[in-house]
């Protein structure tokens, strides 16, 4: 009896601690979103109140729609993220297949060479990257960002995918070879479909830092027509610092797409992290 009660007490304490931290984690987001729907006066009168009939106001969102070109920024971010993701997954899977499937001279060395980028951040090469982009006329193009993010995402993607590809059965691949499939067909038609879950994990890991990056858009593509959402929001907020409605609305609009994506993929993300660590 006493044992059961102490167990109950411990479980209540655990829930209390977790709820407290959940509140800390979500409170700032909550405050921003509720205040973005309030009038300027209400934002200052009672920041923690929900928007009610007297205080509900969309003026912030109207300013954002009129002043900022968020639709264009959003489109740029989508193009950059999707194109880099496609390249990272395709090129990464191809290289991972070569490293995990074939024995050839320099295999281990190539693996280490590609893994170098996991630890050394690509930002340290920014000075030279900018020079390369200037020389090739790619400054202020989305292509520059896509190329850089592909290089940034490849090391981790090769590393994770080659771990997974080692677990694809050799019998299956050899059966394919006996049936006269080329090595390319074996890769695209037999192996790729089998590592799809691992690809989804890599996709989530690659996507978030690309979507959220400020450094490379700021340096390589700061022009109006190539701004990403992250850079656009940063510049917009800088210009409208005193217009609290607009700032709060811009922040809410920047939070929304990532949050939706996260809720859709959260199970995949968590499964990916736990699967990687169990290995």
């Amino acid at each position: 009896m006493a044992h059961a009660r102490s167990h109950l007490g411990r479980s209540i304490a655990a829930h209390a601690a977790l709820i407290a931290y959940t509140v800390i984690a979500l409170f700032p987001v909550f405050v921003i979103v509720i205040n973005s729907f309030k009038s300027r006066k209400a934002i200052f009168a009672d920041p923690l109140a929900l928007p009610g009939p007297g205080t509900f106001d969309l003026v912030g969102y109207q300013t954002v729609m009129k002043q900022g070109d968020f639709l264009l920024y959003f489109q740029n971010s989508m193009i950059v993220t999707c194109a880099s993701l496609f390249c990272v997954l395709l090129f990464g899977a191809m290289a991972a297949f070569a490293l995990s499937e074939y024995r050839f001279r320099g295999n281990l060395l190539m693996g280490l060479y590609l893994a170098l980028g996991i630890m050394i951040p690509i930002r340290l090469g920014t000075v030279a990257i900018l020079e390369i982009m200037v020389a090739s006329g790619l400054v202020n193009t989305l292509t520059a960002l896509i190329l850089v993010y592909t290089a940034q995402g490849l090391p981790l993607s090769v590393f994770i995918l080659s771990e997974f590809m080692k677990s694809v059965s050799d019998d299956l691949k050899n059966a394919g070879r006996i049936d006269g499939l080329s090595e390319y067909a074996i890769f695209f038609r037999l192996v790729l479909p089998l590592v799809r879950p691992a690809m989804a994990t890599v996709a989530v890991f690659t996507m978030i830092p690309i979507w959220n990056d400020l450094w490379f858009p700021l340096i390589l593509a700061p022009a109006e027509e190539t701004k990403t959402v992250t850079l656009g929001a940063q510049v917009f907020i800088g210009q409208f610092v005193t217009n609290w409605n607009a700032v709060l609305a811009a922040l809410s609009l920047a939070i929304l797409p990532v949050l939706v994506l996260y809720l859709v993929f959260s199970r995949q993300l968590i499964r990916g992290i736990t699967a990687g660590a169990v290995k």
Binding site: A14, H15, A17, L18, I19, Y21, T22, A25, P28, V29, V31, I32, F44, P47, L48, F91, G92, M94, A95, A98, M110, Y113, L114, G117, M119, I120, I122, R123, L124, G125, T126, V127, A128, I132, A151, Q152, L154, S182, Y184, F187, I208, W211, N212, L214, T230, A233, Q234, I237, W244, V247, L248, L251, A254, V258, S266, L269, I270, T274, G276, A277
Partner: protein
Amino acid sequence: MAQGRPVRWHIAVFLAPAVAVYTALMIIPLFGTLAQSLFNLEAGARVFVGLGNFRRLFGEALWSDAFWNALGNNLWFFLIHMLVQNPIGIALAALLSSPKLRMAAVYRTAIFVPTILSFVIVGFVWKLILSPIWGIAPGMLDAVGLKSLFAPWLGKEEYALTALALVSVWQFVGIPMMLIYAALLSIPDEVLEAAEMDGITGWSQFWKIKLPLILPAIGIISILTFVGNFNAFDLIYVAQGALAGPNYATDILGTFLYRTFFGFQLQTGDPYMGSAIAGAMFGIILIGVCLYLFGIQTRLRRYQF
């Protein structure tokens, strides 16, 4: 010789795109930057100066004051992450991994939300919340009778860096939590059952059985934190601008590199000294990674189940 195995072109085809992009945009720029740090302009011409740039960076007051300030701030930034972020992450993971806990998935999802937000959002959200104009932070301290504790933390030299480091901790605590959580889940039940047989339960089970088993995961988190912190830029830039105010109190290596390379206000950009700073950051990160790989990782005992 000619009768040897045919060249397996498909291996080259599979490797080519990844190796090409990676080499062209990661390896060559990295070494290009390191090479550039050995040059400087003299009378309008690019000349080889050896380690001259580094000598200026470490020794000439004009540069070294800013450099050592940024490095010191960066160390403090890292220390706060190690002392606050990782213990909280481990504690949350330990709570989440208890098998009878309900709603674990909900907590896990919610606590990870800040990690997916961009620095722009995080920086501005906290700037607004801590702002004395809006008054959310002072209002909440007032509600618990601690209003006297409030100060405009981001605007005070002595608090600003710590406040931003804690904001960064708030954002990234989800990563150690998830990795430790995964490590705890991978401990086999038999080990825990055996411990229970011997009467080791609850907290003592955590300290004596689980903690030694998750030490490798804690090592990985430490090195990830190290690389991330010495490469940080965005949060400081968003919250305090490229000048990393007040009075450079929040300047870290990333913002120092940005200001030097691109210039800011009256200062013009200097790609040579910028490269030297990037080279110094490369050295620091390399030393940290090597210390971890050869000094810590090899000494950690790993258990095979």
